[in-house]
């Protein structure tokens, strides 16, 4: 588990007068659960990119567990993300042609980290998220099942941080609820810090800390004191 510390974070794009993101301070304790919400274009995705190191900010700093990822280069951020972040995205990003368990194992295999223990764990995780046929090709799964495979992939290497970007947006209510349950229970069991970006009120409501963005700025911060 890692603690988040954001200070004076700003992201500006050429040709835009206002910065896309402008966060003076955002701190989250290790093992905490943060929901980020806001209208479309409020800066949620930009914030996810900064928190996961997918992109670098124009100014300010983002640090996880004392590591200032905003100062790292592209390859170093990729390495850091591989070691510390489990990513769940709205459109799954599963690889067709591979089975469910192969998808879960793919990042570990590419990083040459797929030990016997990791492979065993992949099967256990698939059972835990409710997939009885790990060898089933992913393109034949339902959308709810696909997202559960993506969740299993995200937590395979027991990351210190789980970041889920609109994990329930493309799912029906029941599947969305199941995925939300999984994310919260797995994060709690692994002790991972969980960042949920969503405008799904049922998902947001389950986070202990809720931040609302508008125009790239934090306009409300609930539960910070708890």
């Amino acid at each position: 588990m890692l603690a988040l510390s954001v200070a004076d974070l700003s992201v500006a794009y050429p040709g835009l007068a206002e910065p896309a993101l402008d966060v003076a301070a955002l701190d989250l304790g290790a093992g905490g659960c943060l929901a980020v919400t806001g209208a479309s274009g409020s800066g949620k995705s930009t914030l996810v990119n900064m928190l996961t190191g997918l992109a670098r900010p124009s100014g300010g700093r983002v640090a996880w567990g004392g590591v200032e990822i905003s100062a790292l280069g592209e390859a170093a951020r990729d390495r850091w993300r591989a070691a510390n972040v489990g990513l769940v995205m709205q459109d799954f990003h599963l690889f067709p042609g591979l089975s469910a368990v192969e998808n879960v194992l793919l990042p570990a295999r590419l990083a040459r980290a797929a030990s016997v223990a990791v492979r065993t764990r992949a099967h256990e995780l698939l059972a835990e998220v409710g997939l009885s046929r790990p060898e089933q090709p992913v393109e034949t799964l339902s959308r709810g099942e696909m997202q559960r495979v993506a969740v299993a992939r995200a937590v395979l290497r027991e990351p210190g941080v789980i970041v889920a970007d609109e994990p329930t947006a493309s799912l029906d209510a029941a599947s969305g609820a199941a995925v939300a349950d999984l994310l919260l229970s797995l994060a709690a069991r692994l002790g991972s810090t969980l960042v949920l970006v969503s405008h799904d009120p049922r998902l947001i409501g389950r986070a202990s800390r809720r931040v609302t963005l508008a125009g790239g700025r934090i306009v409300s911060d609930e539960g910070a004191a708890r």
């Binding site: 990119n49 996961t52 992109a55 990729d78 591989a82 690889f95 067709p96 042609g97 590419l110 990083a111």
Partner: protein, 406 residues
């Protein structure tokens, strides 16, 4: 990783197939040009191997070689008959044999010559024996004639026969082993018979339609030291030494005769054909440049189609080396398959063309690879490896976020 590449190729099999075929066709073109040229060079060098020195009437040396070595149907000017007598008695000459053309049997040339030439240039008999009288003949390995068959020669060269020598029949008494030369398609008869059929070498009037000179049972005389000989198209000369060969050529190169080393004439011919080969090679290179350009396009599209996938791999923490290896490995698999297929295809086309050439001319074109071809393959694959590295490197060059959004 291999599973990932295979599943990706399976998913985009149509595109993969086009890339493989594109590479294969370009490679096959280059391979076929190289093999064909090599086969022609080796095949004709082998065909001319037994022909040390050819003496003919003054004229074009190329036609003399093409007519005598490759039995190409073309009329040759005649050289005086006493040239054969002079050569036969020359101490520098091991043996000299006349070669007479003019008749054919169903597009197969009838060549009048001596037992000496057959014994010295052929590889022996597959069946039967040497001709011993005027109406006997020896068939080349590639003819459609068996021992015991009789043939009626047509007057005129193969392909342009005018009329049959109706009352002349040759009996096939021997069949030669293959020599992989144009002579495999020939029917070899005593030169004496050719002269007699055409009423030559006799003192009486020349009348082509009256073959009264031809005597089926006549024994063969191959010692012409005191006979009056008719004009001859060509004489094959076997000098005793290399020095003798050069001296003989020097002595007979002035009109009314000419003396040529077939190997030398062929070399000059290759120099001429070399220009044609350079054009072919340029076409092959041009095709390869086009294909290289197409390959660059394909690799760019290949990576473009997979930007999102590559972005996702990176977002999930695939190391730079792994992404590079995936893209590079997949492209190399495609190009490697294309190169392998191209070499097989090029060889196949060359072998088919060579077989067609052999059927038509009798000359066997050896179609095959030599060790140096391996260097060509390595160079090609090396170039492909560099080419594939560009998109593989580019796959990691753009920010992960941009790739993910693609």
């Amino acid at each position: 990783m291999i599973r990932f590449i295979l599943s990706d190729l399976r998913r985009m099999w149509a595109g993969a197939l086009v890339v493989v075929l594109l590479v294969a066709l370009a490679v096959a073109l280059g391979v076929a040009v190289t093999l064909q040229e090599r086969g022609l060079r080796l095949g004709s060098a082998r065909a001319a191997d037994k022909f040390d020195l050819i003496v003919g009437a003054a004229g074009g040396p190329t036609q003399l070689v093409l007519s005598s070595v490759f039995l190409q149907a073309a009329p040759l000017p005649l050289l005086p008959g006493e040239t054969l007598q002079k050569l036969s008695s020359d101490p520098r000459v091991k043996w000299a044999a006349p070669i007479g053309f003019g008749d054919s049997v169903r597009d197969q040339p009838v060549v009048g010559t001596t037992t000496t030439l057959i014994a010295e240039t052929a590889k022996g008999f597959a069946d039967g024996r040497m001709f011993a009288q005027e109406d006997e003949a020896v068939a080349g390995a590639a003819t459609d004639l068996a021992i015991g068959a009789t043939v009626v020669p047509m007057h005129g060269l193969a392909g342009e026969s005018t009329h049959q020598h109706a009352d002349v029949r040759y009996r096939i008494v021997g069949k030669l082993k293959p020599t992989s030369t144009a002579w495999d398609r020939a029917i070899l008869v005593p030169i004496q018979a050719v002269w007699h059929i055409h009423g030559l070498g006799e003192h009486d009037a020349h009348d082509e339609h009256d073959h009264h000179g031809f005597d089926a049972d006549a024994a063969l005389h191959e010692d012409w030291s005191d006979a009056e000989l008719p004009g001859l198209p060509a004489i094959l000369v076997k000098p005793k030494t290399i020095a003798d060969a050069y001296k003989l050529r020097q002595d007979y190169r002035a009109a009314p005769t000419q003396a040529v080393f077939p190997a030398e004439v062929l070399t000059a011919l290759y120099a001429t054909m070399g220009d044609a080969r350079a054009v072919l090679a340029a076409i092959a290179i041009g095709a390869q440049v086009l294909v290289a350009a197409a390959l660059i396009l394909v690799t760019v599209v290949h990576v473009g189609q997979r930007r999102r996938q590559i972005g996702a791999l990176r977002a999930f923490g695939a190391p730079r080396g792994a992404v590079f290896a995936l893209v590079w490995g997949e492209l190399m698999a495609l190009i490697g398959a294309g190169v392998a297929l191209g070499y097989a295809l090029g060889w196949g086309v060359s072998a088919a063309l060579g077989a067609g050439f052999t059927a038509k001319n009798g000359v066997v074109l050896p179609v095959g690879f030599v060790p140096e071809d391996g260097i060509g393959v390595l160079a090609l694959l090396g170039f492909a490896a560099l080419l594939a590295a560009v998109p593989a490197w580019r796959a990691y060059a753009e920010p992960t976020v941009d790739a993910l959004r693609a």
